[in-house]
Structures are given as structure tokens and as C-alpha cells.
């Protein structure tokens, strides 16, 4: 008997090509060290609750009641749960006769999709069709589903920002497609220049690639930049001219830390631009319960909204959703609560606002603390985190450090991040995991560690960094 079916050499090549640094080498090393007893600060993934952020009270109350509906029959339930949570639990249970334990419609419960559509309408000022909104087990599953529809083979390319969140590169690999990079401009606060887009598309087509789609992450991950209205218009015009479907990853839309560029959805701008473009550009927009100030990563709740996708294609996408039967129902309820939170006058409203504001204001402060902290370090330059949850400082590694990395058989930023980890317990993700210009190095960290821990973390980083630079810098003239 020769090679067994599940031997490494006989695995699907597309699987072997996949890289996902967020839980790659650094994370695995950090986990090893943690097992050995070292204190690790995990800043490798946008996972707020893991770093002490508390869940919002109201949604947890509602979902707990939906999990155990027999509580609703108990006369003492009001001692533990406020009346509006009880009412809301009954509202969601009425949408699903089988409760949380039944497969829902494969697109998600119609009642919740309606709540999502209403949220989109309030946010953007344009109506949204619940039939074109599909709930998914996290936004990532939605991204994978849509990319799988678009990519037919190696000849199909998808424009992806560099740096990018490696879900995109990994999924394109898995689907056997081609990633067409467009570079964000670090010197312009990670701005998007349409010239870069045109160049990338031209290059790809020259290489025989059919460019099919463009990904924007707004606010950006790992870069945090918020797109301006002008930028969004340029992008939409570009997609219209080049016949690309626009994939708008808007999962960080609640995480905005400056006032010059509030979040505007791609769909709103598209509708603002009027016909013909508003009826012709194909757009899929993604959102989640994992980010924002909710941070409910573990629930796996998300949705995608389709604009200008032909009905027959929507049917095919529905068919694919139906193979997995349905997204998990508790997360659907989290999504409903997120888009339809307590209103003024509700019993839980003040607590909800207090908790939410507390988190957002703290995130804003931490974004500033971290940016300033990095900028105070030798050979480190850091753009301000305008939005999302990350800081992406550029580390100007001296030539001797790069040499040392080569000798150790490691990519330079991986080398730096491993040393950082071993010295301080801070677990980051090397910039090479997100893509960067040749010869320019970064790392990604989150702004999520508790505010009271920030000063110590930043000073610990500064000490390590400045010592590292001292160690590897050439003798000064």
C-alpha cells in the first residue's frame, strides 16, 4: 500500500498554500510559553472579552431567557431579569416556534432580517430588502461564501488592500483564485489612491488575470483608516468602470476614534450617486456582532447584504446557505439586539448607553495612548488608529537586525516579534502576516488590553524596543 489518503503530500495544494498569521507562528509560540507559566498578553486578535471587556448586560439577559424559556413561566423571573429583557425574549421566541433549538430559515429568521433592514435604513436613509440580507455564523463565513461564488479558478483575481486582514488571502488561496494587491499609502495615513488601483488591475490583466471583485475594509484592518466620502465615490466609480463587484467589509463601523471621518456605508454612497451607477454596481456588505462595542466574538454572528445581485444568483447563494441548514440561532438574536438596541424610555436604556459609551470612549483613549506610546519609541513610526481595533506601527529594523533574522531563518518582523514576546510576554502578529511593502516592517497589536494595564504594556514595549535597537544599531558617527 502506497501513500495514504491523508498523508501530507497528498493533501489539497490549496490548503497547503493557505496562511493565517493571526493564529500562526507567534500565537502558537505564545501559547507554548503560556503553558510553561509565562504571563502572556494576547494582542494578536480582535477579541475584546478575552482582555477583560465585559459583555453588555441587556443582550445576555435576553439570550439567557431565550435559552431557558421555562424561566419565563416562573413567577420569580422578575427578580433576576428586567421587564424589557423579558419582553424582548418573548418577542424573539415568537419569531421561532421551535425556540433556539430549531434550524431557522437558511438565510436567518425573517423577523431578524427585517430588524437588520430597518437598521440599515435608519443608518443610511435608504430602504433595504430583508430578502437580500443573509445571516451567517460570523461575517467570515459570509465572506468565504461570496468569494467561493465569485472565484472560478486561478484566472480569477480579487483586489485586496495591502496590508489586509488575512481572511481574504487565505480564502482566495482556498478557493484557488488569485490575489491582486493594491497598496495603501502609509505616508498618507494608509490612504487609498485610485491610481494604485488602476496600476494593480492593469498589472493583473497583463498577467492574464480576470479581475472580478474588489475588497475594501472600512474602517481598515490592520490599518484603521476610515474612508472619506470622496474616496468611496472614487472606489464605486472605479468598480463601475472596471465591472467589479465591491465587497465592503464594514465590521468595524462602530469603532470610530476621530470626528473628521465618521463611518459612511458604501451602500449609502452608492445610492447617493444615483442612476445608472446605483442600479449597476454590484455590492456585498458585511457586518458582525464580534466587533464594535459589543465584542461578542464567541457567538459567531454576522450578516451580508446584497445590492444589485441578480435574483437567480441570489437563489444560488441561498442554495449554498441551505447546505449548512441555518446559522446558529442565539447569534441571530444577538444580531437583532445589536441592530435594535434598547431605546430611550426602556428600563434598560440608561444602563445600555452607559456600558456602550464607557467601552467606546475607553477605546478612543486607548487608541491615542497606544499611537503616542509607539511614536515615542526609537525607530518606530505609527499612524493614528482612526478606527477598528488595532495599531500597526512601522518598525525600522537596523540592517544588523535583519541579518540576525536571516541567520535565524526567520522573516525580520517575525524575528522581532518573537523576541518581543519572549522578553515581555506581549503576543503580536508580524506585519508580514498582513502584507506590506518590500523591506518595510510592521507589527499588529490590538488596542484592547485594559486601560489600566496600558501604561505598563507600553513602557514594557518601549524598554524592549529601545534595547533591541541599541543592540542591533550600527555604531553612530
Amino acid at each position: 500500500m502506497g501513500v495514504k489518503a491523508l498523508d501530507h503530500e497528498s493533501l489539497n495544494e490549496n490548503v497547503k498554500k493557505v496562511q493565517y498569521a493571526v493564529r500562526g507562528e507567534l500565537y502558537l509560540r505564545a501559547s507554548e510559553l503560556q503553558k510553561e507559566g509565562k504571563k502572556i498578553i494576547f494582542t494578536n486578535v480582535g477579541n475584546p472579552h478575552a482582555l477583560g471587556q465585559r459583555p453588555l448586560t441587556f443582550p445576555r439577559q435576553v439570550v439567557a431567557l431565550c435559552q431557558a424559556p421555562f424561566l419565563l413561566d416562573d413567577p420569580n423571573v422578575g427578580l433576576l431579569f428586567p421587564a424589557d429583557a423579558i419582553a424582548r425574549a418573548k418577542h424573539y421566541l415568537s419569531m421561532t416556534p421551535g425556540g433556539l433549538g430549531a434550524y431557522s430559515d437558511s438565510r436567518g429568521l425573517p423577523g431578524i432580517r427585517k430588524e437588520v433592514a430597518e437598521f440599515i435604513e435608519r443608518r443610511d436613509g435608504y430602504s433595504s430588502d430583508p430578502e437580500l440580507i443573509f445571516l451567517t455564523d460570523g461575517a467570515s463565513k459570509g465572506v468565504m461564501q461570496i468569494l467561493n461564488c465569485i472565484i472560478r479558478g486561478q484566472g480569477d483575481g480579487v483586489l485586496v488592500p495591502v496590508p489586509q486582514y488575512p481572511l481574504y488571502s487565505a480564502t482566495i488561496s482556498l478557493c484557488g483564485g488569485s490575489l491582486v494587491p493594491y497598496y495603501l499609502d502609509e505616508s498618507a495615513n494608509w490612504g487609498l489612491d485610485v491610481n494604485n488601483l488602476r496600476e494593480s488591475v492593469a498589472q493583473a490583466r497583463f498577467n492574464g488575470i480576470t479581475v472580478r471583485a474588489m475588497v475594501i475594509i472600512n474602517p481598515g484592518n490592520p490599518t484603521g483608516q476610515c474612508l472619506s466620502e470622496a474616496n468611496l465615490r472614487e472606489i464605486l466609480n472605479f468598480c463601475h468602470q472596471e465591472n467589479l463587484v465591491l465587497l465592503g467589509d464594514e465590521v468595524y463601523q462602530q469603532n470610530i476614534y476621530q470626528d473628521e471621518r465618521p463611518f459612511i456605508s458604501a451602500r449609502k454612497i452608492l445610492m447617493d450617486m444615483g442612476q445608472p451607477i446605483s442600479k449597476e454596481v454590484q455590492l456585498v456588505s458585511f457586518h458582525t456582532v464580534s466587533k464594535g462595542y459589543w465584542g461578542e466574538c464567541g457567538q459567531r454572528g454576522g450578516y451580508f447584504e446584497m445590492t444589485n445581485i441578480p435574483p437567480q444568483t441570489v437563489d444560488e447563494i441561498y442554495k449554498i446557505s441551505s447546505i449548512s441548514l441555518s446559522p446558529n440561532v442565539p447569534a441571530q438574536i444577538f444580531m437583532g439586539l445589536m441592530v435594535n438596541p434598547p431605546k430611550p424610555g426602556d428600563i434598560s436604556y440608561l444602563q445600555y448607553v452607559r456600558e456602550s459609551k464607557g467601552i467606546l470612549e475607553s477605546l478612543r483613549r486607548r487608541a491615542r495612548i497606544m499611537t503616542d506610546g509607539f511614536n515615542s519609541c526609537k525607530n518606530v513610526v505609527c499612524n493614528f488608529t482612526e478606527g477598528a481595533m488595532y495599531s500597526f506601527p512601522q518598525i525600522r529594523l537596523p540592517p544588523k537586525a535583519i541579518e540576525a533574522a536571516k541567520d535565524a531563518g526567520k522573516v525580520p518582523d517575525v524575528f522581532y516579534c518573537l523576541k518581543l514576546l519572549e522578553a515581555t510576554g506581549i503576543s503580536t502578529v508580524p506585519g508580514s502576516g498582513f502584507g506590506q511593502k518590500e523591506g518595510v516592517f510592521h507589527l499588529r497589536t490590538t488596542i484592547l488590553p485594559a486601560e489600566e494595564d496600558m501604561p505598563e504594556i507600553m513602557s514594557s514595549f518601549k524598554k524592549f524596543n529601545d534595547d533591541f535597537m541599541e543592540q542591533y544599531e550600527d555604531v553612530k558617527m
Binding site: V15, Q67, G138, C149
Partner: protein, 531 residues
Amino acid sequence: MRRFVIGSARSLIERSRQNYQSQRPLISSSYRLLSSTPAADSPSSSSSTMAPPVALNTINPKVIECEYAVRGEIVTLAQKLQEEIKTKPDAHPFEEILYCNIGNPQSLGQHPITFFREVLALCDHPTILDKSETQGLFSADSIERAWKILDQIPGRATGAYSHSQGIKGLRDTIAAGIEARDGFPADPNDIFLTDGASPAVHMMMQLLIRSEKDGILCPIPQYPLYSASIALHGGTLVPYYLDEATGWGLEVSELKKQLETSRSKGITVRALVVINPGNPTGQVLAEENQKAIVEFCKQEGLVLLADEVYQENVYVPEKKFHSFKKVSRSMGYGEKDLSLVSFQSVSKGYYGECGKRGGYMEVTGFGADVREQIYKVASVNLCSNISGQILASLVMSPPKVGDESYESYSAERDGILSSLARRAKTLEDAFNNLEGVTCNKAEGAMYLFPRIDLPEKAIKAAEAEKKAPDAYYCQRLLTATGIVVVPGSGFGQVPGTWHFRCTILPQEEKIPAIVTRLTDFHKSFMDEFRG
């Protein structure tokens, strides 16, 4: 071998291939001269001649090719009729739609297991664990179990992404549950918790299928997740036929025959899917049968993909569920001898928690380098939902004798299982009483798969409507009675035979009315089409 392709899809696939091949690369220099202001007449020749990127003829042809009948055409029609009854209650000769198409117990009135829901609610809202009122609302052992689980979660944060294989402590519990079930040890590092068993199946297909030259042996009839997943990943389904005459028996000789035939056609067969208890067929494999299957996989170097999601659904005293892990270990086969992936879910059994999307695969018998790849793919999605992970651990370690909740738990469990067994028998007898219908016993799982001998006239009527004969029968059944079942062609069957799959899940008090409606419909159908 048969590929599950819709007739019209073939031409669509051809057309999209032609589109794709006709693109010509553009010269790069023309773009460097453009300014950033978008020109209305931009020299992009591709946009004026190409279809939009996401149109039916430009999307991935594998998406078009795959099918999933369980929520297919007949269900769409049922939903339409359901809407019509809502607005006009007299629109149809029935008051309600009865969804017997899908194994979704709680949607038809089955209650969840109280203890499980208590623990889940407490884990969702741990703040109340400290309150005294909680003692009055929850059983003491559910509170204790919630504490135990929360202590296994870093920071007690149920809203955080976990380890990509699932929370370690929960995997320990599941491994212990597997060991208690089988009598052979299980390693928590072999366990990957997933959003239901289905994503785990997809993961394995992704790993195993490199091109259409890679084949996966699947039972016919099969649960169409397998055919759909194989199509989506671009592989080839290699069918092996279960023998209806012997209660859907699985013969290794049939496996060998299909393996050889496909190999002679240049297919590399990579794995064997076995669904035990079977779906839609309901047979529970005898241990000797399982040993022969294990031996076959070992000799031929195939991965054994054991779908065991119905392991708690066995309704006949003469059969017992044995996991393939247990069987292979009892034969003395270990990690070096057999690559085995076992799938389990929280959706079936007596717990029926479909909407939670909880499940796992236990992967044994392959090298660390392959395990790394599986981990890597799992990590791209970060982790499965935490609540589903907790539920999977509860399913694999429910209350024990002596626990406060044990009596109520076991009463709920036994009530559901004995009711399922009764409904399986009642419906089996009802089907066997219909003219031209034979129905094998449902030894396990949640379905009956009766065979109908359709008269020639009915087959012609179906052809006239461009429908498969069993789909035609099912549609007529739906419009006459409101009962939704899935045509056998959605699962695969010996050509020229017709079946449909009906669940045993409607509540017991509804069963007599269902039997009456079905019987009346069938009689009038046969009256209409009898030779």
C-alpha cells in the same frame, strides 16, 4: 459513476468556461497615464463586453452544479402555500403545512432537555450565578456544571474567540465521554469543535479533494450534504449502493466493485463515507459489517469518514450503536493502521438542538503535519460558537445517576426516544399498508424512506411536467395534504426506482391525522393513475 448535475447546469458550465477563456490581457502602459479623476470613457474594453461579475453565467460553476434537495424546490413551494393559507385560510384543502422534510425536531414541538438549557442560560449570563434568587430558578447541579464550565474558559469570557479547536476543558470532557462510550481512550487534541457536523465534513472534503480525479465513496441513498460538498470542492462522487432488499445492507463486495470501476476510469478514491445509523435509510450496521468495512479501508488506504450523528437514535433492541473508533480499536488497529474521522452533532439524538450549531469531528490516524493543516484551516474561521461547544460537551457527558437532575433528565430523554421509536413503527406500518409501497424499518436515525411503485401513467404525467416521477408524487402530496417530504432523487436511488424521505418527527398526537391524510391521498392518486 453518476454525477449529480442538473441538465441545464451543464450548458451553463460550458458557457461560463467559454466566457472565461475569451478574455484577452490588456497592456499595462495605457493605465500609467491616467489621472485619479475617473473618466467616463475609460479604456476598459472588458467592462463593455463582459457580463456583470456576479451573474448566473459568471459565478463559480461548482456552485451551480451542487444541489441540496432537503431545502430544495418542494420546500420553496411549501413556504409559498404556507403564506397563502396565512392570508386566505380556505385557499387549500388543509389548515397547516407539516414539514416532514428535515430532521428539525424542536420545530415540530419536541422539547429541549431542561438541564442542558439551564447550563447554557447560566453560561450566557454568568452574572446571575452570584445572586441568591438563582438558586430558586435553577437546579443545583446545573449551577455547579455552569461554574465548572466557566472555570475552563479563560476569564470566564463566553463571548471571546476560543482556541480554534474549541475550549480545551470542553474537549477534555468530550474525550472522556468518548472513552466512557467506547472503552478506548480518546485524545482531546484529536477533537475539533465545529458549528455543527456539516462544516467539519466540508473541511475534510476540502483537504481530500485536489481535483475531479479525486473520488469519495458515498452510499446511495445518501444525505445530500455529501454530494453537495463533493461538487462544491470539485471532486467526484463514487456511489456504492445499499441493498434495499436486505434492509439497506452495506456489502463490502459492492464497495470493492465500485472502487475497482472508478480506479479503472482513472479516479483516485480517497475516502469512504459511512452514515451509521443511516440517513435517509435508518439502518444500524451490525458489528461484523463494521469490521469488514474497517478492514476494507485499511487495505485500500482510504480515509474512513464516519457520520455518526444519529448514534443516540436506535429504536430496535436487536441492534446497538458501535462507533467505528471502538470497532477499529477492538480489532487491534491503532493510529498507524487506519485514518478515521468520526462526526458527531448536537442536532439529533434526543437533544435535537439543531439551531445551536454544535458538533465535532474526532480525527485519528494521521501525521502531525496533516493535523497542522487541519488546525490551520480551522483557524481561518477562528473558532466555532461557544454556546454550541458547551452543548457538545453536555451531550457527551450528561447527568449521571445520583446527580440532582438525573431523574428528570433521564425521564425527558427516555420519553423522547421511546416516542420516536413508536412513531417510527406507526409510520413504517402506515407506509407498508399503501398500495405499491414498501418501507424498510427505521432501525435508527429520524427518517423513513418508502419505495413507491409508480404506475406508468403517473410517470408519464410527471414527464409531461418535466419533473422526476418521485418529485411529481411529492408535489401532488403536498398540494393535497400540506405534508412536505423530500423526493428520493434528492438522495440517490437505483435508477427506475422511486422513493421519498419522510421524517418521524411530527408530534405523536398529530401522527394519526397524518396517516389518514396520506392514506387518502395515496388511494386517490393510485385511482387516478392506476393502469
